[in-house]
Symmetry: C2
Subunit: 623 residues, 2 copies
């Protein structure tokens, strides 16, 4: 269908995608700024300590404090470093006879034991300050100490530099949570969600509404966990999203709904997916695409952590067709260039067989990307060189060469990757190669994607339907069956449904889809036509929703942001498992508690189910 190869050309620089840099001006912006100036929370209210370990500074000198924490390490029975969630502080172990019991406690307790100490904040002796430690100017002169709990020998040390396998980290998750990184990730997540709530509830009047998770299966809802009920043969299902409920809330006149919603998807074993995950789920009445997009831009700007570069709005947007043509994907990473260029015209009269072949077919194209400095990293054909004498380049005529250099801005040390084939597939292949080349270049030390840069992008104008994979003659929803068609394309619904664009929009961050939503169908007839006639779904399963649309449903739309992925990108964590307190392994296991687990048969009885043991595991059990 298509082929691709490498050609060694000249060197060039990738053009970074234009970044819109103006901030919202005027009163809204100022108001957002003001309300983000929050009070510092009281971290020691209601508890046995007076202060946290991490907060003590020279300004506390002379204060009598009580601290609670874990023994991080001990030096020659003279110093002890105490740790809590807030930081580390140095404690001086008293050496005089009268404090023998205190000394005994502090010198004998194993590392990671929990102690409470009371004493005075004093300056460290001149020259002994530790500028690398936020509390490095002071230390605690201890008067009394209490051992709150001892610690047995640990499976690994609670030190960030100690490497451990992820399986071990997950098995002892409660120990892994003590690490700086996990504390940072979970606390940032909590703060960011709190600010999102402030923005939605307090600034824009959204109502936080909880929707059920014991629901029924949805059409096409494979991947839904099932829960047997006490009625024989009747099952609840765990929903993949609160989609139906949020639309019903709009019919119910709630006007502005949001929820930090737990969702469920049983995809079996997939890397970096979780069987339960969280989305910021939003729905509004009387809104259009631009309304939802502005809301979300404001939401992210308002909730963005203050230790990161501020978010710049509005976000750029791109149609699905453009994203595919330029980046070969519906979630372009726009932090760097290397865009796909259509070079079909250059080769209209080519003599090269497979190019001729590709171009003669419907949708046939020749596409290419230019990897600047690609010669550094790509295993270019040994005979290829800057004189265009690679196996294929030899057949490219001088005129075509100049045209390529002009079109693709090829410079010395650039490598061109060229593909011929059907438009969509050609783009898709080059899109993947583009990302792989970026990885290769970065592994060699080039910075293509600034780690401090957060590049948001709206992708819009998706197709409403796709051909079914298993049966391309039939249609399936590109996203879900409640998505409204694009107003300009409604006339095509009865004639050329495959050509209809939708009012779906995706939010992309650094090449990751972090959210998606749409304007919904609020017309019952249109919804019935799409479900029954075009999609051939069982309408009975959705009769409540169709009926609701008959009873005065307002126009409405919404979006859902994938919270786990978003926090993962913000914190720079290597996996979503690092921003979830108790994640499952990629096989869906809780390695700490050993869930899922066997159940005694009598616990299945009330639910009228029994296990169907596969033949081989039956045999295994017999052993």
């Amino acid at each position: 269908m298509f082929s691709c190869w490498l050609s060694r050309l000249c060197r060039g620089l990738s053009t970074p995608t234009g970044r819109v840099t103006h901030l919202i001006q005027g009163s809204l912006s100022r108001r957002l700024m003001l309300s983000s100036q929050r009070r510092i929370p009281e971290l020691s209210s209601f508890v046995a300590r007076t202060n946290t370990c991490g907060e003590l500074r020279s300004s506390h000198l002379g204060q009598e404090v009580t601290l609670c924490g874990w023994i991080q390490y001990r030096r020659q029975n003279i110093f002890l470093v105490l740790r809590d969630f807030h930081g580390l502080v140095q404690v001086v172990i008293p050496q005089d006879e009268s404090a023998a019991s205190v000394k005994k406690i502090l010198c004998e307790a194993p590392m990671e034991s929990v102690v409470q100490v009371s004493g005075t904040v004093i300056s460290r002796p001149p020259g002994q300050e530790n500028p690398k430690m936020p509390t490095g100017e002071i230390e605690i002169k201890v008067k009394s100490a209490q051992l709150l709990n001892t610690c047995k020998k640990l499976p690994f040390e609670i030190k960030d530099f100690v490497k451990k396998t992820e399986a071990l980290r997950l098995q002892y998750r409660y120990l892994d949570l003590r690490s700086f990184q996990m504390q940072y990730n979970l606390r940032l997540r909590s703060r960011m969600v709190m600010k999102m709530r402030e923005y939605l509830c307090n600034l824009h009047g959204f109502v936080d509404i909880e929707t059920p998770t014991l629901f029924k299966r949805t059409p096409g809802g494979a991947k839904e966990f099932v829960i047997p009920s006490r009625e024989p043969g009747k099952f609840y299902c765990l929903p993949q999203s609160p989609q139906q409920f949020k639309q019903l809330l709009m019919v119910g006149g709630l006007d502005r709904y949001f929820q930090v919603a737990r969702c469920y998807r049983d995809e079996g074993s997939r890397p970096d997916r979780q069987p339960e995950f969280t989305q910021i789920d939003i729905e509004m009445s009387f809104v259009d695409q631009i309304g939802i997009r502005s809301l979300i831009e404001g939401l992210l700007q308002y909730s963005w952590p203050s230790d990161k570069d501020p978010v710049v709005v509005p976000f750029p947007s791109m149609t699905f067709a453009e994203a595919l043509a330029s980046y070969g994907t519906d979630k372009p990473d726009t932090r760097f260039g290397m865009k796909i260029v259509d070079i079909s015209d250059v080769f209209r009269n080519t003599k090269v067989g497979f190019l001729q072949d590709a171009l003669s077919k419907p949708q046939g194209t020749v596409k290419a990307i230019c990897i600047s400095e690609g010669t550094e990293v790509l295993p270019v054909f040994p005979k290829a060189n800057r004189n265009w004498n690679s196996p294929v380049a030899k057949s490219i005529m001088e005129e075509q060469r100049s045209e390529l250099i002009r079109l693709m801005e090829i410079q010395e040390d650039g490598v061109v990757l060229l593909t011929a084939g059907e438009h969509r597939k050609a783009c898709s292949v080059l899109g993947k190669l583009r990302l792989e080349c970026a990885d290769l270049l970065e592994a060699r030390g080039l910075v293509l994607r600034d780690p401090a840069l957060f590049s948001f992008l709206w992708v819009v104008d998706f197709p409403l339907f796709l051909p079914k994979e298993e049966n391309p003659g039939e249609l399936e929803s590109a996203h879900h069956p409640f998505t409204a068609p694009h107003p300009s394309d409604i006339h095509l619904l009865h004639t050329e449904p495959k050509q209809v664009r939708s009012q779906h929009y995706d939010l992309v961050l650094n090449g990751n889809e972090i959210g998606g939503g749409s304007i919904r169908i609020h017309d019952a007839e249109l919804q019935r036509y799409i479900l029954a006639t075009l999609l051939k779904e069982d309408v009975k399963l959705l009769s409540h929703l169709l009926q609701a649309l008959d009873f005065g449903a307002p126009p409405h739309g919404g979006i859902a942001l994938g919270l786990d992925r978003l926090i993962c990108l913000v914190t720079g964590a290597p996996s979503i498992r690092d921003v979830i307190a108790f994640p499952k392994s990629f096989r869906g296991h809780d390695l700490m508690s050993n869930a899922p687990d066997s159940l005694p048969p009598e616990e299945l009885k009330p639910y009228h189910i029994q296990v169907s043991w596969p033949a081989d595991s039956e045999a295994e059990r017999a052993h």
Copy 2:
């Protein structure tokens, strides 16, 4: 075991329970007040309207506005009342020829259709103002109108005065949600939870952490829904609370955790319970009972709706033993008196046979309550009268009568209900009668329980263990096996475990348990002893928690507030179903969507389960 009867005596007044009325003084209080002065949210940002229907006043006169809403009613094709979530507004239908199309739209749309109108805010003509309507001084002179959706004939009218059965309301929940009461309940719930979050996160540094709902069964965890996994015979369970996870978070050094947590309990059909419910779940390290209680008092005070009387702190507290003795329950309604009085001493030398009998047994007592104005409501023995000549009172000697009048403050028209029997059972019976009598008196128009009064109470010092119902020789946890014993009673654990009090505390509001928690066991040895030796539980299921306690677990404690019940009490709703957007019926059905539902057998295959059809339903299916 015991008996009770009525005796007609003299009239008296119930003494209301003392109510502590001082507010927290000083800086904390002022700070709480300040931060509760919130900005009014923008309710029309990002959408097609300029204003909500309910917000328009004389101050908007002359403004050009666009409104979106539902047609509430129409008068003689001249006026139309438009409704949105915020209120009602009167729209004047234009009568001149040039606006014929606008008139047509507004006059022909059925009730509850959705329209958008644009026009000018004008004063109502003098004399036509409606002082009962917040927008009653103005009306909208319409220039343009758009029909956004028509409404078919409704199953019931969207008017609060139209009564409908609860089954119908649940079937058309999206219509019921348009009622004033449901909008009020859900919006109050959202606001109150938001303020709780502000208090916990922003004022006190709590971390909002999501814990898994795909977990494994817990010891004694019948009532847990099961979810088959793709591994044959392996099941997840939906947890009844995040108890284990929150304790593990403390071991993980998170220090202050909270979550608005979805919990699951499969209790079959029970009135006013839901298979999924929500709790405000809290855990802290280095805290004691008083710390948790102060935190919760502050939380409720801070989040309390401003349209209710403010919450007064600290809440009174009472031991479990006192609650039982005075109110016959562990959740006393302290809004009124009628306390239980022990009158055993009055009858030490009685000749009445069944009283003698009761008092001769261990724990034998005679107890009574006095119902003031009880003669109004109680079906007193026809022969009983104020001369003490009821069947039993006749046998009571003059001395005993005077002593009873003194002890119980009996006044004219009072009725005494007397019980003889074992302490706990006698109290329990009188406790129930006390509440039933209060209902009877209130049905007759007496106000015993001020509907504006919120009477909070801590109940403390519960027993740690109870005898198992099915086998009283064995022990079970009164609450759960992680509850710490009372420090004064630890020495009894090895000798008289039944006598050990716990560090559990319940929060009671107007006779309803709205929360409970405890200081937890943080010592692994003690936890193992209680689980394995005293409770004889399968320790393997909890090995991860026991191991965690070995690795430096801090002392910790927490609480969970039942959010649905709390909001139900605050709003005065008749059922928790009225504060949940999409509740299940008492049989656990979603009457709107028809969950739980049948599943095609192929959807059970990946989970290696099959339905065990009971014999009779097998027969039914064959038909």
